[in-house]
Symmetry: none
Subunit: 154 residues, 2 copies
DNA sequence: TATACTTTGACTATCTTTGACCTTTGTAAA
DNA sequence: TTTACAAAGGTCAAAGATAGTCAAAGTATA
């Protein structure tokens, strides 16, 4: 049994795979109507499951002729770098962004599923570090070192 | 006279033997309801009877539609784990020892060359930690979390 | 009796769902 | 053109639903 949010996520992702244009347009109110919930639930799903880190771009317009457009970003090392280069160079990165990067490397087939799990596991370990700043720094280094290794032995 | 905890342990183990998937999902509150005790008693049982040493893996999620998942490791994985458990559970591990374990995993064909390099890369990152004790601790956690992840999705 | 194991409950953390209020945009009326 | 209003979508904080932690109190055992 899954949550409303999970159901809506699956529904939207299915629509996306069926779409030829690479994006879908929805009406927030219609969608919430279909799932019998308040409209803002749609925003919750968008904010937690269709983030830039996860490879989605959400645009919208209010008022008459309003819409919510969800786009699955074409995975390429280029736009990956666009999104994450700043983090990687700065040597610090948040947990969310790190996981997003790993997910997208996997989408790209740049790493295997097992490799992505290994990388994610390293992020789990960091929770034992109390010092938040050290945590972010170490996360950055871990990612950087793992990426460099992958590149070196590609 | 057997304790509440023993009863709960037996109940869960029975459910596990009946499960085809190799794991069971329960609701902490439902279970404690069935045994007429406080919810945290479930945690006590999990912590004392369904530990890694005993060949179990426990995952959970909070919030709406939350759950506790108990997984019984396959015998082959348990054996593999036995080899490393002592090191891993000690909580701290030296760099040499860690690299030895990784090499061993590779020799056993349990991980690929790339995976071994990935794991080694994480050890490299640790050098930025000044605190030697924290370094050793984190090394232990990294290894454990990575291995667990591999086991979980084996 | 001392020690180890068990049980409880108050407090905390996390994830989801809801609803009241806010902002933007298109368009019909003035 | 300007204005008013309806029709979107957005924000945010509170409520709801679970699970986790920890230490104190209770019980069994050596």
């Amino acid at each position: 049994m899954s949550t409303l949010a999970d159901g809506m996520e699956d529904y939207l992702k299915k629509l996306l795979t069926l779409s030829v244009s690479g994006y879908i347009d929805i009406k927030r109110k219609e969608l919430s109507g279909k799932f019998n919930c308040v409209p803002s639930q749609v925003n919750y799903v968008l904010e937690t499951r269709f983030t830039l880190e996860k490879g989605y771009l959400v645009e919208s317009k209010r008022g008459g002729k309003g819409f919510v457009r969800i786009r699955k970003l074409q995975a390429s090392l280029e736009n990956l770098l666009d999104v994450f280069l700043q983090d990687i160079l700065s040597g610090q990165i948040s947990d969310d962004r790190a996981r997003g990067l790993i997910q997208r490397l996997y989408d790209l087939k740049y790493i295997s599923l097992r490799e992505s799990r290994l990388m994610e596991a390293t992020l789990d370990s960091l929770t034992i570090i109390k010092d938040k700043s050290l945590q972010e720094t170490l996360r950055g280094w871990l990612l950087k070192d793992m990426l460099l290794m992958l590149i070196k032995f590609a």
